[in-house]
């Protein structure tokens, strides 16, 4: 979308200064399209570890998130601005302050914490009902797949009845923030999903 007009005008540089301007514009690297990504989930789901792993930072000194963290990562011509909001019950009411102009919602689940599947399901259901997040594509990260007792992404999708989500595109991706496995696949889905949206 951003590149298109520049390319068109650059072809007609026979018309003096206008052409030169177009040529200069062409030489200037096109700025990355910014994507606002919201990272939500219960406490101890692994949101901050995912955020740091994506940004290629050290993940051995993580602490519970009081408040939020932001990081931006550039990939495939996109600048992903990721907002990682604390998952503690007490601060979940503040989640909605961060909903505005969200491009993608990533919901993180601790696949090994079966006792809290119901709680995480309820929170996700409530997010799906929010007006401000309507039609925002959803990626569910079934995190901690490296643990022996973790549930498979398929089982989680069934348990949370993700198939009942009809009003938006969604995807569930198994991952391990610790090893990094599955994160790249998840982000590729994000890019694939938003690309047609940005061209519209």
């Amino acid at each position: 979308m951003l590149l298109l007009p520049t390319m068109l005008t650059s072809r007609s540089y026979d018309s003096g200064s206008e052409g030169l301007l177009a040529l200069l514009r062409k030489l200037k690297p096109s700025p990355d399209k910014e994507l606002r990504i919201l990272l939500l989930g219960l406490d101890n789901a692994g949101k901050t570890t995912i955020l740091k792993k994506i940004a290629s930072e050290d993940i051995t000194h993580i602490t519970p998130t009081q408040g939020f963290n932001i990081k931006s990562v550039s990939t495939q011509g996109f600048k992903l601005v990721v907002w990682d909001i604390g998952g503690q019950r007490k601060i979940r009411p503040y989640w909605q302050n961060y909903f505005d102009s969200t491009d993608i919602l990533i919901y993180v689940i601790d696949s090994a914490d079966q006792k809290r599947f119901e709680e995480t399901g309820v929170e996700l259901y409530e997010l799906m009902q929010c007006d401000k997040l309507v039609r925002v594509p959803l990626l569910v990260f079934a995190n901690k797949q490296d643990l022996m007792n973790s549930a498979s992404p398929q089982d989680i999708a069934d348990g949370l009845n993700l198939n009942g989500i009809k009003d938006r595109t969604w995807q569930i991706q198994g991952c391990s923030a610790l090893t990094g496995e599955g994160l790249k696949d998840g982000l590729e889905w994000v890019i694939k999903t938003v690309k047609p949206m940005t061209k519209r």
């Binding site: 406490d43 101890n44 602490t63 408040g67 963290n69 998952g87 019950r89 007490k90």
Partner: protein
């Protein structure tokens, strides 16, 4: 080109440094370490100059590396610290041809500073060791620490390791064990020291953290503050405070004490900032770190805690 220039500059710089050293040595008949010991005040100013001089010295390179290897492997303990220091002092005086019987004051100062240099590294080792230790439910010692934390802050009993009540002292959910994360047992040890050694103060801070408008989560903010001081320790930023504190023995307790100071000061800044809500934690934490680092960067820095509730 810049690399070349930089290399040229550093080699000129090193040459100039050793030239000056030689010149001053002839002029004063004292080696650089002696000039430092006789010409600076006791504490950080002296110890850091000794440290830098030893790091640079080619002649003393072997003495230096074999000295710091001891604390870096965590072996600078009470039983062998005297022996380690003696070996280093003897090595230095021999190589520098200083008569220890004549320069008694120099030997005493040198030993005092070397002890601090080693103790700091030993402290880094010990803190890292405890940080890497994960909370282990099968370890009664770990469980007891968690229960002591509760009992010191609250008068009502706790039902067990999993209970909604843990949120009352600022853990995130029902299971406090999941909140220690990357800080491991260092996070818990810091908290336990604070609530047992400065009980009134800790209870006071906890009650402030429960403020309906300006509240925050006591325990997890505490774990975030452990992260802050552990980072400063690793960056060598606590050297001013610890070298200036002049204590004969520097150990993990000094880190715990610093933690208490940091907690109380953070709480004070938090309330003074009148945050809109707890989501402002990141901003205030960063501001707090900046203020703390500015204090620590002063050569004469000594962070002294306020020991009583009245003072805060």
């Amino acid at each position: 080109m810049w690399v070349k220039l930089y290399m040229m500059f550093t080699s000129v710089n090193t040459f100039f440094h050793s030239f000056c050293k030689g010149f001053l040595r002839r002029l004063t008949n004292l080696c650089e370490l002696q000039r430092i010991c006789y010409g600076t005040t006791k504490g950080y100013e002296r110890t850091i100059r000794i440290e830098n001089s030893l790091k640079k010295s080619k002649q003393l390179a072997r003495v230096w590396t074999s000295l710091i290897r001891i604390p870096e492997k965590g072996r600078y303990t009470e039983s062998n610290s005297a022996h380690t220091l003696e070996a280093a002092v003897t090595g230095i005086t021999l190589l520098k041809q200083v008569k220890p019987t004549y320069h008694r004051e120099f030997v005493r100062s040198l030993r005092f500073s070397l002890n601090h240099i080693c103790s700091y590294r030993q402290l880094e080792f010990e803190a890292e060791h405890v940080r890497r230790m994960k909370f282990d439910t099968s370890d009664q010692n770990h469980v007891n620490k968690l229960l002591i934390l509760w009992e010191s802050l609250r008068d009502d009993p706790i039902e067990g390791l999993v209970s909604k009540k843990w949120q009352d002292i600022g853990f995130q959910g029902d299971d406090p064990r999941t909140d220690f994360r990357g800080m491991g047992m260092l996070g818990l040890d810091n908290l336990v020291f604070f609530v047992t050694q400065y009980n009134n103060l800790a209870r006071h801070v906890l009650s402030r953290s429960l403020h309906p408008k300006y509240g925050y989560s006591f325990a997890i903010v505490g774990i975030n503050l452990t992260h802050l001081i552990h980072n400063l320790l690793r960056q060598g930023k606590l050297k001013t405070h610890l070298y200036n504190a002049m204590r004969a023995v520097v150990g993990i307790e000094d880190l715990h004490k610093l933690y208490c100071y940091v907690f109380v000061e953070f709480d004070r800044l938090w309330l003074a900032e009148k945050p809109r809500d707890v989501m402002e934690f990141g901003r205030i934490r960063d501001k707090f770190e900046q203020i703390l680092v500015e204090r620590l960067e002063r050569e004469d820095c000594v962070l002294s805690g306020r020991g009583t509730v009245e003072e805060i």
